[in-house]
């Protein structure tokens, strides 16, 4: 992509402006390409389906980012692409060449603006209220934008399929989903180069946001992957509701679109469902869900004295904002049992509308349901479930832990324990970096639960062992050769996930702690502010330090003092001299022995000296000889002439200048000692 690699950013160069020109302000193709790539494919879209939805509104928005007015943006964009194809490089050669290799580093491919151009043409069909995948309709919009006076496709246009495939490769193989998951697909096998751009503008961004409302309305849960026919029936029911928030165009596509459009819509909805984390959409679409109360179960650590369950009208209300007591006990046969799932993002046990096959759950049941629940669990669950009573359970209620349902049981009295069907396909284990994104080399296992056989099971189109009923666990790591986007098909169910290799250089190193032990300095010591580490968002205040890992963070005056250095020496010598690095750092101790014959026993003991400096050398003074050994590894003395107690400095200098020690030093230690002796001579000369 050498043609645009030198473009600085999205800043418009004023010198490009033609003041007398009546046309749109010229902006280079490369600038548009960069701006479009940054707008549609960025880190905020990691793991999410992304659409190159370059309709007029998007082009206006991006145009503003590069300094164009709303009126100028679309003509400027069309002009830039058309010129790039026909003026700069005839026959779109440059575009096609750029599609044949992947750019290196962080550069986006050079064909993104061109593909966006194709999508803009498709979106004009939507604007003209024309439905269907019609090649003729499409070229009627595309050709005028290219200033071509013809009816059919440009001669080179079929090659654009390569660029769409390269875009997917760039997103999945090169960036491993960090900039999003590709969604473009050939809606029409006869005219795939028309289908690809149309697939990017079938649903508007606002329609896709509304899908979260649909998922809740359909009582779907994150991780659900229902059969397409069921999903489409539900989608039609929802689109027919008077309060359905979809645009009229999207509703017509759902209710009146042909089979290719339906398949494309279902593929988009499936991708959105896979990426859905169960959270609300925007405020408007979340309104309907507010009607459903949520019971939020929190199990606390040992040192917290509050109840372990909470009731809330909104999802995941902070614990501190809820009264301690259980505010609501559901009534009625269907409310006498509640199922809690382990909400991985919230990190807590959270009420779920329906139990899932094969997942670990907690069931809270009213005493009146106890015998029936026990009988049900005996029939439907793995025998590892257990009934437990402990502090905090509301009076009259029972708690069943470790509930893992293995099969659907007919005629279950409680909605929440009625399974959708008898097959569950899920991913288990693996090192999940994000939802559906796994660290390469630590891929999950595929778990298929249910009494009925399921076949075929395919991973990226390659067959895996079939499921013969019961539970089948297939480790996926041995079957995955390279990181990127992967799809599993098990019978009518599909699941997809991404594997990502560890960051190479791009991962910023942390410089400040996020969780730490805060300690308060007072009265010459430190006092814990809390009983365990806490999340810290700001630097420590004056008078406080944070302990995080091996480091202590705080203001200089609050940091701890270094411990006095303790030197252990063998007893039995007449005296000991310990030297530090700086002139004047000297500690001396003289021993006296009343009975000399005790010396052998004495030498088996150790003496302990605390010295107020970092000890470097030890001199043991015997009857006739003195022995020199190193206490610290190889630290050179400072070169500056020491100041301070003159007697101490003189004693230090005498000790390092003395030549008669028996040295118990390695060669390297001897050479360092020599630097001390040299420093001592120099200090002596200066004095």
């Amino acid at each position: 992509m050498g043609s645009h690699s030198s473009q600085p950013s999205f800043v418009l160069d004023p010198s490009n402006r033609h003041p007398n020109s009546s046309g749109p302000r010229p902006v280079s193709y490369a600038t548009w390409n960069q701006a479009l790539a940054a707008h549609f494919f960025n880190a905020a879209k990691a793991g999410q389906p992304v659409y190159l939805q370059a309709d007029a509104e998007a082009i206006q928005l991006i145009g503003q980012q590069i300094g164009l007015s709303p009126d100028e943006a679309e003509p400027s964009f069309i002009q830039a692409v058309a010129r790039h194809i026909f003026v700069t490089t005839p026959q779109a050669q440059n575009i096609m060449i750029s599609a044949k290799y992947m750019p290196s580093g962080g550069e986006p491919p050079g064909f993104i603006a061109f593909l966006a151009f194709c999508v803009l043409a498709a979106s004009r069909m939507e604007r003209d209220e024309e439905l269907g995948v019609s090649a003729a309709n499409y070229y009627r919009r595309l050709n005028p934008m290219l200033r071509l006076d013809r009816d059919g496709a440009p001669r080179w246009f079929a090659d654009t399929v390569i660029a769409w495939q390269r875009l997917e490769e760039w997103l999945h193989a090169v960036h491993e989903g960090r900039y999003g998951i590709a969604t473009a697909q050939p809606l029409n096998p006869v005219h795939p180069y028309v289908g690809y751009p149309q697939s990017q503008c079938l649903l508007r961004a606002s329609d896709r946001s509304s899908l979260l409302d649909f998922f809740c309305w359909a009582r779907l849960q994150p991780g659900d992957m229902p059969p397409h026919d069921w999903l489409f029936a539900m989608l039609c029911d929802w689109a027919n509701l008077p309060r359905c928030p979809l645009s009229s165009g999207a509703r017509r596509r759902i209710l009146e679109g042909g089979s290719a459009v339906t398949d494309a819509l279902l593929a988009i909805i499936t991708l959105e469902l896979q990426a859905w984390d169960g959270t609300d959409g925007d405020e408007n679409t979340a309104a309907a869900r507010r009607e459903r109360p949520l019971l939020h179960l929190t199990f606390h650590s040992a040192v917290q004295q509050v109840s372990w369950y909470e009731y809330a009208n909104e999802a995941l209300v902070p614990l501190s904002s809820i009264p301690e007591q259980f505010a609501h006990v559901p009534a009625g046969p269907n409310d006498a049992v509640a199922v809690f799932g382990d909400h991985v993002d919230a990190g807590q046990w959270t009420l779920v509308p329906r139990a899932a096959l094969g997942a670990m759950q907690v069931v809270l049941a009213h005493e009146s349901q106890g015998p029936a629940i026990r009988a049900f669990l005996d029939r439907a669950a793995r025998p590892s479930w257990r009934e437990q009573t402990f502090r905090g359970i509301p009076p009259g209620w029972l708690c069943f832990r470790g509930v893992e349902l293995l099969r659907a049981v007919p005629n279950v009295a409680w909605d929440c324990l009625r399974l959708q069907d008898n097959v569950a396909v899920r991913l288990q284990g693996g090192l999940a970096l994000e939802r559906n994104v796994y660290l390469a080399g630590f891929e999950p296992s595929l778990v298929i639960d249910g009494p009925d056989p399921v076949a075929p099971i395919l991973l990226d189109g390659q067959p895996l062992p079939d499921h013969g009923g019961g539970q089948t666990v297939i480790p996926l790591a041995p079957h995955i050769q390279q990181s990127g986007y992967h799809t599993i098909t098990a019978g009518t169910r599909t699941r997809s996930f991404i594997t990502r290799s560890p960051h190479r250089g791009a991962l910023p190193l942390l410089t400040v702690p996020q969780v730490a032990y805060p300690l308060r300095r007072a009265d010459g010591g430190y006092f814990p502010c809390v009983t365990s580490p806490i999340a810290v968002a700001t630097p420590p205040a004056t008078g406080t330090i944070y302990v995080a890992g091996a480091a202590i963070y705080g203001h200089q005056e609050d940091l701890p003092d270094l411990l006095p250095h303790t030197v252990l020496v063998q007893d039995g010598f007449k005296g000991y001299v310990i030297l530090g690095r700086r002139g004047g750092e000297i500690f001396a101790h003289r021993r006296t022995f009343a009975v000399r014959k005790d010396l052998r026993a004495v030498r088996e003991r150790l003496l302990s000296f605390d010295v107020p400096f970092e000890p470097q050398w030890l001199i043991k003074i015997g009857r006739n000889k003195s022995y020199l050994s190193a206490l610290q590894p190889y630290v050179q003395p400072p070169t500056a002439v020491p100041s301070g107690d003159r007697d101490q400095i003189a004693a230090w200098v005498r000790a390092v200048c003395r030549k008669s020690y028996i040295r118990r030093l390695s060669d390297e230690q001897s050479s360092v000692w020599q630097t001390y002796a040299t420093a001592g001579d120099r200090f002596k000369a200066v004095r």
């Binding site: 090192l431 996020q514 303790t566």
Partner: protein, 284 residues
């Protein structure tokens, strides 16, 4: 148990909740509670238990070892592959000794030794990570005393349900009990175990180790100065930050000596043993 993979995971993700950590631990065949203690003791990650349990990897740091024949540091905290590659390259360029020792029950210990201390400062500058001289000493110096830890533990009411176990300081064992029998440390059954200390009529919710040490006699630690080994009885490991100060002396977790059922911390300088022992009322 693939602790290196778990450390790679926490380095990549940076921070998260307990459920995520639990699942990641299970994926590499580690017990999550033990893995949390291990990563915390080694200074790789911190775990917040109050309210919603969360964790975060610590910023990478070179922590100086106190008792080595040559100046030496270990790598603590975030350990992304790119940092390791840079470190290996820098070590080769600066002619430093870099070793990666596998460690039973924990991630590998990455130790770098140099002929001179200033070469390690150069390494830290090149890698843009913190060099922490005297890490273990400073940590030992900053730790609150046992009395402070007990006094600042939250007071609580006398429990209405019976305990399930009590710590017997004479035998240093947990005994099954069904009633309170005077001052002591009691375990209560909750979704997670719950430890409550009764001292002089005052009930407190305490960490298990704090409760145990508040009842222990001062002879639970044995120090062997010649080898600079600190030996601590089974079930008597000190509170988490104390463990970290001891681990940072060598870079290694305590090893268990099955012969006399003791944990052994190696290369612990007498100054650190003395300081920690005084704070935990242990005579060494």
């Amino acid at each position: 148990m693939n602790y290196d993979a778990l450390l790679l995971y926490v380095s990549e993700v940076g921070e998260g909740n307990w459920t995520q950590f639990k699942r990641a631990s299970a994926a590499v065949q580690c017990d999550a509670a033990i893995a949390a203690r291990v990563l915390s003791a080694l200074g790789h990650a911190e775990f917040a238990w109050d309210g919603e349990a969360r964790w975060a990897v610590c910023p990478p740091a070179l922590s100086a070892l106190p008792r080595q024949p040559q100046p030496a540091v270990i790598l603590c905290g975030q350990r992304p592959p790119a940092l390791l590659e840079d470190m290996r390259a820098a070590a080769a360029r600066l002619e430093l000794g870099l070793t990666e020792h596998p460690q039973a029950g924990g991630p590998s210990v990455i130790q770098i030794s140099a002929a001179r201390a200033d070469m390690l400062e150069q390494l830290a500058d090149d890698l843009r990570v913190r060099l922490i001289p005297h890490a273990a000493e400073y940590l030992a110096s900053s730790l609150p005393s046992l009395d402070t830890l007990v006094a600042t533990s939250p007071a609580c009411a006398r429990p209405v349900v019976p305990p399930i176990a009590a710590f017997d300081p004479a035998t240093r064992q947990w005994l099954e009990v069904s009633q309170i029998s005077g001052d002591g440390l009691y375990e209560y059954e909750n979704f997670y175990p719950d430890y409550r200390l009764l001292l002089g009529g005052q009930w407190r919710l305490v960490g298990k180790e704090i409760g145990i040490y508040s009842l222990l006699d001062p002879s639970a630690w044995t120090y062997i100065p010649e080898r600079q080994d600190l030996r601590i009885g089974a079930r008597l490991l000190p509170p988490p930050l104390y463990q970290r100060a001891l681990v940072l002396c060598s870079g290694y977790l305590a090893t268990f000596d099955g012969a006399d059922r003791h944990w052994v911390y190696r290369d612990v300088p007498p100054a650190i043993v003395g300081a920690l022992g005084r704070k935990l009322k242990q005579s060494v």
